[in-house]
């Protein structure tokens, strides 16, 4: 597939602050791409650079292989859904949606057909004459979408579009946005600080910290094989356990207090061995708890220190007999499952094939 948006080594400073600090990204046509990071990481600035509201200090942005240098926002093949929706308060729903059609040479009937079609697309049929002040947050969001999509942009930019909605509506809009994107086939670039949102909606996610892109990967890869401790702890929960390398060969053998000697394949490990220290990363669901009766070589002894019940999942904190480090463990609650109590002695094991390691 073709790259539709290319960000080539782009820098943008605000005074001494390096908001975007040498970012390169390629986004394929029809992809749902997310820029994920904590607030202040430069993701919104990057989106505004693509929209044309900011100018790079250095570097270049191309859309369909055409440089966007000196192209004003109104002439770019992009449209944006703003964080606060930016619905024009003096215009009604229909006038808002039709705002960008003025310069297109269309008859009144053609325009009305387009308006109704795009209102239908976002589920607002029949609200043409509703005043924009009488809209709920979710409806404003849909008007903003309809207003942008009616112009058939090559790229739709979304700046934290769901952050102002309550949880239930947000989840509903997440799946609607995803369906909408598949239906229209337009490239979507979404800015979000919500890792769950990025994972559930995107084809690809770029994780940003301090103006730099740390990792670009599919949601699954990002979760299962984060390339740094920062990415790992930003996306989901992870246990970090310090270890010391014993042998650095085809396989890496290292020692931790809890688990003793372990070996990982090089594919499981990110970074370069600098000082022989390695951090083991274990997602909570990669640890499984057994009762004391269970027998297997790999099982280790531990004590349950804390239990948090979340409905479909229960989180345990386990202290290990060999070390006082606490492991966070999650377990799906299913029918017939044994439940444990605080203070109970248990056995547990980790899925060593799926854990990751980081050299610092």
């Amino acid at each position: 597939m073709v790259n539709q948006v290319q960000v080539k080594n782009v820098y943008r400073n605000f005074g001494a602050v390096k908001a975007v600090d040498g970012v390169s990204i390629e986004i394929k046509k029809g992809e749902f791409f997310s820029l994920l990071g904590p607030s202040g990481c430069g993701k919104t600035t990057l989106l505004r650079l693509i929209a044309g509201f900011e100018t790079p200090n250095f570097g270049e942005i191309l859309i369909d292989s055409k440089s966007m240098k000196d192209v004003e926002p109104n002439l770019r093949p992009t449209n944006m859904v703003f964080q606060n929706y930016a619905i024009f308060p003096h215009l009604n729903v229909e006038e808002n949606v039709a705002y960008g059609l003025r310069k297109k040479k269309l008859s009144k009937d053609e325009k009305l057909e387009m308006i109704n079609k795009s209102l239908n697309l976002v589920g607002l049929s029949g609200l043409n004459n509703r005043s924009s002040n009488a809209l709920s947050g979710g409806q404003k969001q849909r008007v903003a979408l309809a207003r942008a999509l009616i112009l058939k942009p090559k790229v739709l930019l979304l700046d934290e579009p769901l952050s102002a909605l309550d949880k239930k509506l947000r989840e509903q809009m997440q799946s609607e946005l995803r369906h909408l994107q598949r239906a229209v086939g337009i490239t979507f670039i979404l800015v979000t600080h919500d890792q769950e949102e990025a994972l559930t909606m995107s084809d690809k996610v770029a994780v940003m910290f301090d103006g730099k892109v740390e990792q670009i990967a599919s949601p699954r890869e990002l979760y299962e094989k984060p390339i740094s401790q920062r990415v790992a702890s930003f996306i989901g929960a992870m246990n970090f356990i310090n270890g010391k390398v014993i042998k650095d060969d085809k396989k890496i053998i290292f020692e931790t207090k809890i688990f003793g000697k372990l070996s990982l394949s090089k594919k499981q490990i990110s970074g370069k061995n600098q000082n022989g220290k390695l951090t083991l990363g274990i997602r909570p669901e990669l640890v499984s708890i057994r009762s004391l009766k269970a027998t297997s070589k790999e099982l280790m002894m531990g004590t349950i220190k804390d239990i948090s019940y979340f409905g479909e999942t229960t989180y345990y904190k386990i202290s290990c007999d060999k070390s006082n480090e606490l492991l966070t463990v999650s377990s799906q609650n299913s029918f017939g499952q044994i439940s444990f109590k605080v203070g109970e002695q248990v056995k547990f094991k980790i899925d060593i094939e799926s854990v990751v390691g980081f050299f610092d």
Partner: protein, 266 residues
């Protein structure tokens, strides 16, 4: 606490009485049948108001005042819109200083402004006519206009402008389709305040007017004729009513422009 608020209440009422009681005398004496302005009242009449209809110099002064008030309020509002747009949206060197100078007439004694304008105009060899009054009044109204427009522009969410640009509209289109409609209440408030200020203004008009007098200057000249005093009172009553209506209207528009931000954020 309650005692303090009681004294504050008394203070507030005394203040209001001192401020507005003299103005209430205007309508009272303008309907009084005696030529002499004093209590007790002698009887009710509308004669003084009828007399206003036959004073040709008054009509001339009224026309002049209208020309000056309309021109200067439009001029000051236009300049005010431009100035506060640039001061609220852009940063440039000398912004603070130039704003301070534009706002200076708010605190400068009008007589100083009047005398210095007169000196400058005469030095430049310009003749005094209605347009010199328009210039003086524009100078005087500008601060009010800028303060009103500043709050209107500050309430304007910048993402609305960006959204307009993003939807394919250029700068000029965005100004006319988004910015202007949204600051329109502010513009109305500024026009009405400017009109009222100019209509009532005496000192600058007195210095800068040539042979064509404005209404306040005409009223002042009437004081030389004691028998015209009740007529003047009648005229004053009418001016008071017009001013009150204009000010209420302008306050209505100003509040609407201040409210518009809340409706955007909802």
């Amino acid at each position: 606490m309650s005692r303090a608020s009681k004294y504050l209440k008394i203070f507030a009422y005394t203040y209001l009485i001192f401020l507005y009681a003299p103005a209430l005398l205007l309508p009272i004496f303008s309907f009084n049948s005696s030529q002499i302005i004093s209590f007790p009242l002698t009887g009710f009449t509308t004669y003084w108001f009828e007399r206003l209809l036959y004073q040709e110099t008054l009509h001339e002064a009224f026309k002049n005042s209208m020309i000056v008030a309309i021109s200067s309020s439009i001029l000051a509002t236009t300049l005010g819109v431009l100035a506060s747009r640039s001061s609220t949206r852009y940063n440039f060197t000398g912004k603070q200083i130039s704003l301070t100078f534009i706002l200076a007439p708010l605190v400068l004694p009008e007589i100083i402004v009047g005398v210095s304008l007169l000196t400058v105009l005469i030095q430049l060899g310009l003749s005094l006519n209605l347009w010199s009054v328009v210039l003086g009044h524009t100078l005087l109204i500008m601060p009010f206009s800028i303060l009103i427009m500043n709050s209107a522009f500050n309430n304007l969410d910048i993402s609305l402008e960006e959204a307009s640009m993003d939807l394919g509209e250029n700068q000029i289109g965005t100004f006319f389709r988004i910015i202007l409609p949204l600051v329109f209440p502010g513009i109305m408030a500024s026009l009405l305040i400017g009109f009222t200020l100019s209509l009532d203004e005496f000192i600058i008009a007195f210095f800068l007017t040539g042979t064509e007098t404005t209404l306040p200057v005409y009223i002042w000249s009437l004081f030389r004729f004691p028998k015209e005093l009740p007529t003047t009172m009648a005229l004053g009553t009418l001016l008071l009513i017009v001013s009150l209506i204009l000010l209420s209207l302008s306050e209505y528009f100003r509040r609407r422009s201040a409210l518009s931000k809340d409706s955007i954020l909802n």
